[in-house]
Amino acid sequence: MENSVFHLQYAIDTFYFLVCGALVMWMAAGFAMLESGLVRAKNTTEILTKNVALFAVACTMYLVCGYAIMYGGNIFLSGMGEVDVAGVLGEYAERGDFEGGSIYSGASDFFFQVVFVATAMSIVSGAVAERMKLWAFLAFAVVMTGFIYPMEGAWTWGGADVFGMYNLGDLGFSDFAGSGIVHMAGAAAALAGVILLGARKGKYGPNGEIRAFPGANMPLAALGTFILWLGWFGFNGGSVLKLGDIASAHSVAMVFLNTNAAAAGGAIAALITARIMFGKADLTMLLNGAIAGLVVITAEPSTPSALVATIWGALGGVLVVLSIVTLDKLRIDDPVGAISAHGVCGFLGLMLVPVTNDGAAFSGQLIGALTIFVWVFVASLIVWGILKAVIGIRVSEEDEYEGVDLSECGMEAYPEFVSSK
């Protein structure tokens, strides 16, 4: 009888990981829709290609070597197909209760982890939109998902020492679902790319003017945001890592609740901030605000009360609007606000953790944030730099004017007057 319960617990905790992983996979659709809605029509096919391809690259590189670098284990996930049923039952039997860490299929762990890698990578694609060479981007994705992300993942969730020098866990660093590890990391890679890439032609004028390049499809952008919001329940919810006991299940529920509350707070705060600053409701800021709220709460979604989670989200919503405007003033061109929503707000999320979580320390959070940022930013700068020198990362001026749909993909997203030979 006892064995039956153990089977069931393994099954439920494994199933939970898989469902949450599937929800996070759905965030890839969210990013694809959000980004394609915020770029101009002539650049839509290319950004969609980037989004689908980077997801595939992330899944493959993480399978080849990323997971091994981050958590130990075998290259190409060899051995993943086996399960030692008797061994697992023995583990449960030794425990005496159900309240320890969860036991689940290693394959489900990989599945849950790999979709996070794809999320980090997709943050980059929005920031470099409309002017980067597609293949340079994909080449970068190979290195980011196979090496750069897994390294900082190893030092954080993997528990390894940072080049043997110090241990972030020992210093009190805590990042529940990845405000820093995933979101700020992605933004750091994006920032490095954007600095070497330069702004879109005509975006910034010689006398400090900032020109608007309105996105071509607001419905897609809004849809993408809601898809991200939904997927985030898996992102944060799955990071509880266990479902199968009363305390864990309640924790999962609080995480879902707080994730939702933070998104709502962020959305409202961004809308109001944009209204005050610009005089009208800016849909794109509203969307960025919801995402900012989600990013902020990602570092600590279980301990805050629902009200505090809403306030944390709202702080993110205000910050993201200010950050977007500031980056434009600094002539750092980010067509979708990725660096602001994921980087700046990711950092905020990390620093808010100790307010409600006694186990974390502000100093630990800061050291962790700097470790992640410096590693990812510098490593990315090097990779982007090599790519720029060897194959170039920016399309030609003419290609940029015609649109990267034609230059990189040879097909328009909204074709008209196409004739056969």
Binding site: E209, I210, R211, A212, F213, P214, M277, F278, G279, K280, D282, T284, M285, I324, V325, D328, G337
Partner: protein, 112 residues
Amino acid sequence: MKLVTAIIKPFKLDDVREALSEIGVQGVTVTEVKGFGRQKGHTELYRGAEYVVDFLPKVKVEVAIGDGLLDQVIESITKAANTGKIGDGKIFVTELEQAIRIRTGETGEEAV
């Protein structure tokens, strides 16, 4: 024959179409266009960056008619498309040299 081109506000299209039907005009071509007249543009903000909204959506209505219908057509379109506010549009009349119905090969006034 004349080619009458009218630039009107998009929401007036149905009214103009009905008015033209009532006086016996049988064919119309419609295009979505953007444009402006003497009205000045205004500025909006997109993510904090200013941009000018100069070109407003309009609809271009083209009808090819015999000379006899010209005055009626002008009056119909004017009445149907008028709102009294800025941006109502304009009507242009050009001489139509030839017209051909592709299916039957008819030409001239029989083709319009």
